[in-house]
Symmetry: C2
Subunit: 152 residues, 2 copies
Amino acid sequence: MDNSSKDDLLQLEKFLCFSIYSAGHAFNRVYKPLLDNLGLTYPQYLVMVTLWQEDNQSVRSIGAKLYLESSTLTPLLKRLEANGLVSRKRDPEDERSVRVSLTEAGKDLRNKAEEVPPCILDATGLDIETAKRLNRDLRTMRDQMEAGGQKI
Amino acid sequence: MDNSSKDDLLQLEKFLCFSIYSAGHAFNRVYKPLLDNLGLTYPQYLVMVTLWQEDNQSVRSIGAKLYLESSTLTPLLKRLEANGLVSRKRDPEDERSVRVSLTEAGKDLRNKAEEVPPCILDATGLDIETAKRLNRDLRTMRDQMEAGGQKI
DNA sequence: TGTTATTTAATCGCGCGCGATTTATTTTAC
DNA sequence: GTAAAATAAATCGCGCGCGATTAAATAACA
């Protein structure tokens, strides 16, 4: 391999992974002041969104939707519980499972939270069609990558 | 606002930010076994890439390229130094600055590292043109979001 | 039935990632 | 020339995020 080809291989700007990595951080920066108003971190916000969509889920179910492990979720959920937004109870039907439910305060927070997404789309500077296409392409790619690990 | 519109607003699948967040995690999972062979974490790998592109940079310069703070980089660089891949020295011309340079081991690692990017592109399942378009759109979006914070 | 395998959360250790602060150095303004 | 402002790293505290492990409950099966 000649030098120009070698130089091509390791250029940061060409790394799709880096664009995603840095775009994720950029999102976090934009979200932070908005979520501070709700008293949530970004991952906590995602957990609340899944619960607003469907209340009373197991830790496992939340993890499947967010691609997170119990080792991440358990401490996070305890913080949400400490802040009075959710309750955690062992499922009487299956004591292995822990059911996570919204408290009244958790349900109420939804109204304030609904003001967030439009602000974010605005901050990206994308028109809706481009945003939708990006979203679709990224989900396809993620699903492909997640599936790749399941060989055998 | 009626209920169907309300339901639309907070659907996880529609969140571009979540696609990026979860795609980032998926990348990490794919990278991990490859980077384990190099003895690097993903952020450490990014720092090494910037140094392979341009050796002997300040912490600030690396941070500007990766959008990271010194509070993130300093401990990371100390770990790279402890692993014998870089050296850290105060700049004699400006004692505030710390110059980070590749050791011989750090330079040598580049050869093994060049095998990584093709594996990754393969794992995404994307054709090159789609990957390039995604990359371009994401960088544009990120730059827009980073610029948005600089108002005034 | 009883034993083994699987499933579910929780725990622990480690490496980010950042905001806020601190320390040292350099630049600027007066 | 000195005081004030700006800049660069480093430090600290906190919240992820995960791999590895553990403990408890359930399922599978001989």
